[in-house]
C-alpha cells in the first residue's frame, strides 16, 4: 500500500511554523544568565518536533538544521553546557533559516545554501567550543549541501570482510547509490584496503553510513580530492566509544550501543544479557521489540530462529548478533541487512528485496531522505484544497474573500434597514405599531449582525506586536544598547486589513525609538537612568478607534535641534512655536535630526511616510516628548476600513461625507475673517492662522450658497495642512459603510469612496487631501489668469 505523504504536509507546515514562532518567543524571553530548565526543554521540544516531522515528511534539509540545533539544545537542557548570548543568537539565526526552508517547501524562494552551511557550522562550533577535546559530538549534518564534491575515500576492512566477495559487492553497491565510485583499490583477502574516488552531493556522514556495517566512521578517511576539507562537516573523534559499537552508526545521532547489532535489524532484547539489551533490531534500527517486555506477540519468538555463527565470533568482527536470542533475526526473514550480516551461506538470500528496503543500509531513513521535489510540489497543491482540521481544533480556515463578501452583504443589509426605518418614520405610530416594532428589532439585529461579521475580520494586535521582540533584540545588539520591550494590550483587536498595513509604520517608529530615542547605556547611567532602556508598545480601544502607542524612555526630542534643522531646510519656524507644533515638524518630508545616518534609521525618509501611511488608513499620528524622559507616538486608527465615521455636509442639495478624523472644527464664518487675495483666491483668518478658503460648491461645480454668512466652514486637516471648507450646511454625524467607487464606477478626483445614506441616496466621501489640492490649484489658476 502506498500512502501519499503530501496530504500531511499542510499540517506539518502549520505545526512547524507554530513551533518556530514558539521557539523564537521562548528564546527572546530567555534569561541567558539563568535559563529556566522548563524553557530550555520547551525550546528543545520545538526543535525536536520539527526534526521529527521534517524527517518523516521528507524535508531533510530542515532535519539537518534541526538536528544540529537539537544536539546543542539537548546538551543545554541536560546542563552539560552553559547558555551564552551567542548561542541564543545562533538559535535565532537557525530559526530564521528553518523558516526560510519551510517557506521554500511551501513554494517560497530557495534558501541560500551558504546560510544553511553557516548556521550548521556556527552551531557546531558552539558545541565544539564547549565540548573540549575528546568529548563526543553528535552534530554532524545528515546531509551536505547540494554542491557536488569530489572526494577521496580510503579505508581498511577487516580481512574476513575483505575476503568475502559478496560483502565487498554489497558495500560497493551501497556506496554506488550515494556517489559515483571510481574504485582504485578493491579490498581482497590479501589487502583489505579500499581506495576510491567519489563524486557525490552527499555528506560525509551519509557516505560513512554506507560503510558503517563494517567500519567505524573514524576508520574511514574521506578527503576532498581538490579542495581542503570543510571543517564544519567533519566528524569528530569519538574517544569514549568502543570501536565495536560504532559499526552501526547508521544514524548520526545514534548513541554507542554496547550490544551487537544495535542499529541494525529489527530485534528483541536478549533477556539473558544485561549488558546487551539489543539482540537484534530492524535493519535500519527503526524499530525493535523488547524481548521480555509485556505485550510482545507470542508467536514471534518461535519463528524462524536462525542459528548462526557463535555470538563471540560475530562480535569479534565489530558487530554482534545474538543469534540465540528468541525471535532473533529470523523474525524478519526479509529484514534488510540481516542475512547479509549473518554471512550465512547456508541460508539463501531472500528472493526479492523487501518492499520497504532496497539496500542493506538504513532503508527506512533513506526512503524519507529522498522525496522527489515533484511529489512535494504536486502534493502541496492537493492539500491546498483540503480543509485542514487539526486535532481538537475548533477553528476553520476561510478565505478572506468570503469574509469580505459577507461584510459587503451585511453592509447592503444595513442600508436596506436604514431605508426601511426612514420610510417607516412617516407612518402613523398607532396604526403601524407592529411594523414599527419590527423595524426597531430589525435595526438592532442588523447592528449586532454587522458587529459579529466585522469581528470575523478582527485580529489581535499581538499579530503585529509579536514580531517586535526580535526586531528590538537585533537592533539593540547592533546599536550596542540595552533595551527591554514591553507590550500592553496585545489582545486588542483590529481589522485584518489594518493589521497588515500598520506593521511597516510601527516598525519604523520602533526603529526610530531605538536609534534616536533610547540612549547608549553609559549615557543613561550618566543621566541617572537604568542602563537598560524600555520600549513599550501599547494597544487599546478608545471609543470607535484603536490607539496604538510606541513609548520609549529615552532622551526625548531635541526642540532646539529640530528648530535649527527646520531653519536649515527653510521651513518657516519661530522660537515661539508650541512644542506640539515643533514635534509636527519631524513629519515633514526629508526631515532628520540624526547626527549620523545609521543603517538602522535616520536617512530622513520616514516620519513623513509613516504619517502618510497612517492617514491613508484613516488614522492620525501624534507625538509627545519630554526631554530626558522619552517620547510617545500615538497612532489612532479606525477599527476597520469598511466603516467610516463621517460628518455629512450639504452642498447645493448634494450630501458629502467628510471623514471625522480629518475634521478639526466647524464654525460660522465671519465676513471680516475672509481675505480676498489677487485672482479671487480667498484665505480665512482663524485665531492667527490663515487658511485657504475652499468652497466645495466651486470644487465640484455645484450651485451652493453664495453668501458666506449663510453657510458654514469645516476646518479640515489633510496631508498638506489645514484648510477651511465652505459648505451650505452640516447634516449630522454617521457611521457609513464604505463602498468603493473604483470597483463600482471609476476613480473620481476628490472622492475616496461612496456610501448609501438611510434615504437610499448615494453620498460621496471626500478625499480631504485631494479636495484641498484641487481647491488650491483652482485658486492658482485664477491668480494666473
Amino acid at each position: 500500500m502506498s500512502i501519499d505523504m503530501s496530504q500531511f504536509y499542510q499540517v506539518f507546515f502549520e505545526e512547524a511554523s507554530e513551533h518556530l514562532a514558539n521557539m523564537e518567543n521562548l528564546l527572546l524571553n530567555l534569561d541567558v544568565a539563568n535559563p529556566s530548565l522548563e524553557d530550555l526543554n520547551a525550546i528543545f521540544r520545538a526543535a525536536h518536533s520539527i526534526k521529527g516531522g521534517s524527517g518523516t515528511f521528507g524535508f531533510t534539509d530542515m532535519t539537518e538544521v534541526t538536528h544540529v540545533l537539537e544536539g546543542l539544545l539537548d546538551r543545554l537542557r541536560k546542563e552539560e553546557l552553559a547558555l551564552r548570548p551567542d548561542m541564543v543568537d545562533a538559535f535565532l539565526a537557525a530559526g530564521d533559516v528553518l523558516r526560510g526552508q519551510l517557506e521554500h517547501h511551501q513554494g517560497g524562494p530557495e534558501v541560500d545554501n551558504a546560510d544553511i552551511r553557516d548556521i550548521s557550522a556556527r552551531l557546531t562550533q558552539l558545541a565544539v567550543g564547549e565540548a573540549g577535546g575528546g568529548a563526543r559530538l553528535e552534530t554532524a549534518p545528515l546531509k551536505g549541501s547540494d554542491t557536488v564534491r569530489h572526494l577521496r575515500l580510503a579505508c581498511l576492512f577487516p580481512p574476513d570482510v575483505a575476503a568475502s566477495d559478496e560483502a565487498v559487492n554489497n558495500l560497493l553497491a551501497a556506496l554506488a547509490e550515494l556517489a559515483a565510485v571510481d574504485t582504485r583499490h578493491r579490498p581482497d583477502a590479501a589487502n583489505g584496503l579500499l581506495e576510491a574516488n567519489l563524486t557525490t552531493s552527499r555528506s560525509d556522514a551519509e557516505l560513512k553510513d554506507a560503510l558503517a556495517f563494517y567500519l567505524t566512521p573514524e576508520d574511514i578517511a574521506l578527503s576532498p580530492a581538490a579542495q581542503p576539507e570543510e571543517s564544519a562537516y567533519g566528524f569528530f573523534d569519538d574517544a569514549v566509544t568502543a570501536p565495536a559499537d560504532d559499526s552501526y552508526g547508521f544514524f548520526t545521532d545514534a548513541e554507542p550501543t554496547p550490544s551487537g547489532q544495535a542499529d541494525a535489524a529489527y530485534g528483541f532484547f536478549d533477556q539473558e544479557s544485561a549488558a546487551a539489551p539489543a539482540a537484534a533490531e530492524d535493519a535500519d534500527g527503526t524499530f525493535g521489540l523488547f524481548d521480555d517486555a509485556p505485550g510482545k506477540p507470542e508467536a514471534l519468538p518461535n519463528r524462524d530462529v536462525t542459528p548462526g555463527d557463535s555470538p563471540a565470533a560475530i562480535e569479534g568482527q565489530g558487530y554482534g548478533i545474538y543469534v540465540d536470542a528468541p525471535g532473533g533475526l529470523g523474525l524478519f526473514d526479509n529484514a534488510p541487512g540481516a542475512t547479509h550480516l549473518l554471512k550465512q551461506p547456508a541460508v539463501p538470500e531472500p528472493q526479492g528485496t523487501p518492499a520497504t528496503a532496497s539496500s542493506p543500509t538504513s532503508a527506512g531513513r533513506r526512503l524519507s531522505d529522498n522525496p522527489s521535489v515533484a511529489i512535494a510540489k504536486t502534493g502541496r497543491r492537493d492539500t491546498d484544497k483540503t480543509v485542514v482540521a487539526t486535532g481538537a481544533d475548533t477553528s476553520i480556515r476561510v478565505s478572506v474573500e468570503k469574509v469580505d463578501q459577507l461584510i459587503n452583504l451585511v453592509g447592503e443589509l444595513v442600508i436596506t434597514q436604514a431605508m426601511l426605518a426612514e420610510t417607516a418614520g412617516s407612518l402613523d405610530p398607532i396604526q403601524a405599531e407592529k411594523l414599527l416594532a419590527g423595524i426597531d428589532l430589525l435595526s438592532r439585529n442588523t447592528r449586532d449582525l454587522q458587529e459579529s461579521v466585522m469581528s470575523i475580520r478582527m485580529l489581535p494586535m499581538s499579530m503585529v506586536f509579536s514580531r517586535f521582540p526580535r526586531v528590538v533584540r537585533d537592533l539593540a545588539g547592533k546599536l550596542n544598547k540595552q533595551v527591554e520591550m514591553k507590550t500592553i494590550g496585545e489582545n486588542t483587536e483590529l481589522d485584518k486589513g489594518l493589521i497588515e498595513k500598520i506593521t511597516d509604520p510601527l516598525t519604523h517608529l520602533v526603529r526610530n525609538s531605538l536609534d534616536h530615542g533610547i540612549e547608549i547605556p553609559e549615557k543613561r547611567v550618566a543621566a541617572g537612568k537604568n542602563p537598560k532602556g524600555t520600549l513599550t508598545l501599547k494597544a487599546s480601544h478608545q471609543g470607535g478607534a484603536v490607539v496604538i502607542e510606541v513609548m520609549d524612555d529615552g532622551g526625548g526630542l531635541n526642540r532646539a535641534r529640530i528648530l535649527e534643522k527646520a531653519r536649515e531646510r527653510g521651513l518657516g519656524v519661530s522660537d515661539a512655536m508650541s512644542d506640539h507644533e515643533v514635534w509636527q515638524l519631524i513629519f515633514a518630508p526629508g526631515f532628520s535630526t540624526a547626527d549620523v545616518v545609521t543603517d538602522v534609521s535616520g536617512r530622513g525618509v520616514g516620519m513623513d511616510v509613516v504619517k502618510r501611511n497612517i492617514e491613508g488608513l484613516g488614522g492620525k499620528v501624534e507625538l509627545e516628548s519630554s526631554p530626558g524622559f522619552g517620547t510617545r507616538t500615538v497612532i489612532r486608527l479606525p477599527l476597520t476600513l469598511a466603516i467610516l465615521d463621517g460628518m455629512s455636509v450639504g452642498v447645493g442639495g448634494e450630501t458629502f461625507i467628510v471623514p471625522i478624523t480629518t475634521v478639526v472644527e466647524s464654525l460660522q464664518p465671519n465676513l471680516d475673517d475672509i481675505r480676498t487675495l489677487a485672482g479671487d483666491s480667498r484665505m480665512m483668518h482663524i485665531r492667527g492662522e490663515y487658511l485657504p478658503f475652499i468652497a466645495l460648491s466651486e470644487v465640484f461645480g455645484l450651485p451652493g450658497v453664495e453668501d458666506i454668512t449663510q453657510g458654514l466652514v469645516v476646518v479640515v486637516e489633510g496631508e498638506e495642512g489645514k484648510a477651511a471648507l465652505f459648505v451650505d450646511e452640516l447634516l449630522g454625524q454617521h457611521q457609513v459603510v464604505i463602498k468603493s467607487l473604483e470597483a463600482n464606477y471609476r476613480k473620481v478626483p476628490g472622492m475616496s469612496g461612496a456610501t448609501i445614506m438611510g434615504d437610499g441616496r448615494v453620498a460621496l466621501i471626500l478625499d480631504v487631501a485631494a479636495v484641498i489640492r484641487i481647491g488650491l490649484a483652482n485658486a492658482k489658476r485664477r491668480a494666473a489668469a
Binding site: 500500500m1 502506498s2 500512502i3 505523504m5 496530504q7 500531511f8 499540517v11 506539518f12 502549520e14 505545526e15 520547551a42 521540544r45 525536536h48 518536533s49 526534526k51 521529527g52 516531522g53 524527517g55 518523516t56 515528511f57 532535519t63 544514524f251 545521532d253 545514534a254 548513541e255 554507542p256 550501543t257 554496547p258 550490544s259 544495535a262 542499529d263 529489527y266 528483541f268 532484547f269 539489551p277 539489543a278 530492524d282 535500519d284 534500527g285 527503526t286 524499530f287 525493535g288 521489540l289 523488547f290 517486555a293 509485556p294 505485550g295 510482545k296 506477540p297 514471534l300 523474525l331 518492499a355 520497504t356 527506512g364 531513513r365 526512503l367 524519507s368 487539526t390 486535532g391 481538537a392
Partner: protein, 121 residues
C-alpha cells in the same frame, strides 16, 4: 471491528500521518496529544496497541508507559515507543519502563504498518 490503536504524539502532523496510515489498513485509531491525554484516553477505551512518542509536554512517553503498565488492563498490551533517539540508553529506559519495543523516527507509513502488523496482526 478493527483493532484499536492509541497513538500519542504532541505533533499533529505525525498523529495525522499515523492515524491515516493505520485507519487505511483497517485499524481503529484513537489520538492523544500528550502523555496525560494518552493515559486518560487509554483508560477510557481499551486499546490493543499503544504507540507513543517520547518527547511530549506534560507527560513524556516513558512516564506514560510506566503509568499504563500500572493499570491492570494494560499489563499485557503491546506498547511501542516512537523515538528519534535510537540510543542504547533510551532503549534501556524504554525497556525498563515496560515498552514492548521501539520504532525510530523518522519512519515511513509502510514501516509503521509492518511493525504494527507484526505486533497485533
Amino acid at each position: 471491528m478493527g483493532k484499536i490503536v492509541l497513538t500519542v504524539d504532541d505533533s499533529a502532523s505525525i498523529r495525522q500521518m499515523v492515524a491515516f496510515t493505520l485507519k487505511s489498513a483497517g485499524y481503529e485509531v484513537v489520538e492523544a496529544v500528550d502523555g496525560e491525554d494518552g493515559l486518560n484516553k487509554a483508560k477510557g477505551k481499551q486499546a490493543n496497541l499503544v504507540l507513543t512518542d517520547q518527547n511530549m509536554p506534560k507527560m513524556d512517553g516513558l512516564t506514560l508507559i510506566k503509568a499504563l503498565r500500572g493499570l491492570p488492563q494494560y499489563r499485557a498490551t503491546p506498547i511501542l515507543m516512537l523515538t528519534t533517539e535510537s540510543s542504547d540508553a533510551m532503549k534501556a529506559a524504554g525497556k525498563a519502563a515496560g515498552a514492548t519495543g521501539w520504532l525510530v523516527k523518522p519512519f515511513d507509513p509502510q514501516k509503521l504498518l509492518e511493525v504494527v502488523k507484526k505486533v497485533i496482526g
